[in-house]
């Protein structure tokens, strides 16, 4: 699951890159950049959750 979470994070980054490359309006760029960051946070959340699930194994 940690790997899955870490794979989601670059998807958010590419959304950010697409936003600044494809849109010229600052508002549209801002919305899509925030969406990209939200996707990255989602991926980070999944990775953190999977780490928590392994608690006590050490």
């Amino acid at each position: 699951m940690k790997t899955a979470g870490l794979l989601v994070m670059p998807a958010g980054f590419f959304l950010v890159v697409a936003a600044i490359a494809l849109f010229s309006s600052l508002t549209m760029r801002s919305i899509f950049v925030l969406c990209g960051l939200a996707v990255e946070c989602l991926g980070l959340g999944i990775a953190v959750r999977s780490h928590m699930a392994a608690r006590g194994e050490n």
Binding site: M9, L22, L26, L34, G56, N58
Partner: protein, 428 residues
């Protein structure tokens, strides 16, 4: 700023920059001392020797390989939507032609040498009491040879983040004169990768109940390290402002004052939070708060006003103890030095603050794009690279090594051979 640009750097600015960069390594010394103090007594010598080894390996790897990717007259470029995206430098390996470079190039390269040494040290503290020196050195080598140079080129060179303003009219492009992203966020995210891969210390997170408190062994080291780091940080931020924010020497005092205000605001906030929450201020958390303020200042000291720097520092100081608690109690991440909070979270906050307080249109968005690159690309990349290193050179020491302590296991002798081992310092 393009270090190859033909702009003449006044000789006085060159001498000032060089002098500042000679003092800046005190920040590294301070953090190394803090890392040693926050670990256990039976791993103190290994912690400090490891710091030396990691710094040495990083400097050598950067000199031979990294310097080629960190800078170059030309970079490797591809095109998206008709715009050039410089993603890595294409300079010379092994510092060939270094002495013939411009003074800007030479100063910038020296700045990067010191920065890479600091960046690799940050994750070392998170692996305290279990991270093997050899594995740490391998991880440092990879960071210094590939990851740091690429990020430095993006931010300080002619890379795509620095060009966001020119290519996409996003303010002045991604701004980070003091290395909050290239040094601290990179180091903090590496610390997260190390904490995940090495796992928690034995007995830290029992299956049932709260996590076990494992306090640092020497609060004096930790607090003195904070004062030592301040001296280095002042020089560091001023050098960064001179080189990357193009501030004239006459405006550097504001950068220094901002650095002081940010650190002071942060420690005051952390002192208050811990005093309210626990009844008494917590020394190690206050040290973390102080460092968090300094890290925040790395991003914004050269850009914001003194009161904005104070506010940014206070927010960092408020967040730090809460986030340290969140990581330990709820997210089961064992980070003895608090590097993830202090360097990654505070660095990201500093970058956000630099955008928030800017009057340039699009600057905030440029900062967010930089943060997205750090989280979305650099963290997975560092985790993948460290995971591969861990397959060849395991990060974590074996159970017996952890039981007797890293000093005895890796060095064959203790840092404090005449110390009496207390019951609460013994193996759980």
């Amino acid at each position: 700023m393009d270090p190859y640009a033909a702009l003449p750097l006044p000789q006085s600015a060159f001498v000032l920059g060089l002098c500042l960069l000679l003092v800046a390594p005190l920040a590294i010394a301070g953090v190394a001392l803090i890392n040693a103090g926050l670990g256990r007594s039976r791993s103190a010598a290994q912690s400090l020797l490891g710091s030396l080894v990691l710094v040495a390996v990083a400097i050598i790897a950067f000199a031979i390989v990294g310097v080629a990717f960190g800078y170059g007259e030309t970079g490797y470029t591809f095109s998206i939507a008709g715009k050039p995206w410089d993603w890595i430098g294409a300079g010379s390996f092994a510092l060939s032609g270094f002495s013939a470079g411009t003074v800007q190039y030479q100063l910038a390269t020296l700045f990067e040498f010191i920065s890479v040494a600091f960046a690799v040290l940050i994750a070392w503290g998170s692996g305290a009491d279990r991270f093997r020196i050899l594995a740490g050195a391998a991880a440092a080598c990879i960071l210094a040879a590939f990851v740091f140079p690429m990020l430095a080129y993006w931010v300080w060179g002619a890379g795509w983040l620095a060009q966001l303003g020119f290519n996409f009219t996003l303010g002045d492009g991604f701004l980070d004169p003091g290395g909050a992203s290239t040094v601290h966020v990179l180091g903090g995210l590496s610390a997260l990768a190390v904490a995940w891969i090495a796992g928690p210390r034995k007995g830290k997170f029992p299956k049932e109940g709260l996590s076990t408190a494992m306090p640092g062994h020497n609060a004096v080291y930790v607090l003195f390290g904070c004062l030592l780091a301040l001296v280095g940080w002042l020089a560091w931020n001023m050098a960064g402002a001179l080189m990357w924010a193009d501030l004239p020497p006459t405006e550097l005092t504001v950068t220094a004052i901002n650095t002081l205000l940010s650190a002071s605001g942060a420690v005051a906030a952390t002192f208050t939070v811990t005093r309210v929450r626990f009844g008494k201020p917590d020394a190690s958390l206050c040290a973390n708060g102080w460092l968090a303020g300094l890290v925040t200042s790395s991003a914004c000291a050269a850009i914001v006003s003194p009161m904005q720097a104070l506010l940014a520092g206070m927010v960092a100081g408020l967040i730090t103890p809460l986030l340290v608690e969140l990581l330990e109690l709820f997210l089961s991440i064992d980070d003895p030095s608090g590097a993830i909070t202090v360097h990654a979270a505070s660095g990201i906050w500093g970058l956000v603050a630099a955008g928030l307080f800017s009057s340039q249109q699009g600057q905030f968005l440029a900062q967010l794009v930089g943060i997205a690159a750090l989280l979305g690309l650099i963290l997975p990349l560092v985790y993948l690279l460290f995971w591969l290193v861990n397959l060849v050179l395991p990060f974590r020491v074996d159970a017996d090594g952890e039981r007797i302590g890293m000093d005895l296991h890796e060095l064959g002798g203790n840092a404090y051979p005449e110390f009496v081992v207390h019951r609460d310092d013994s193996y759980r």
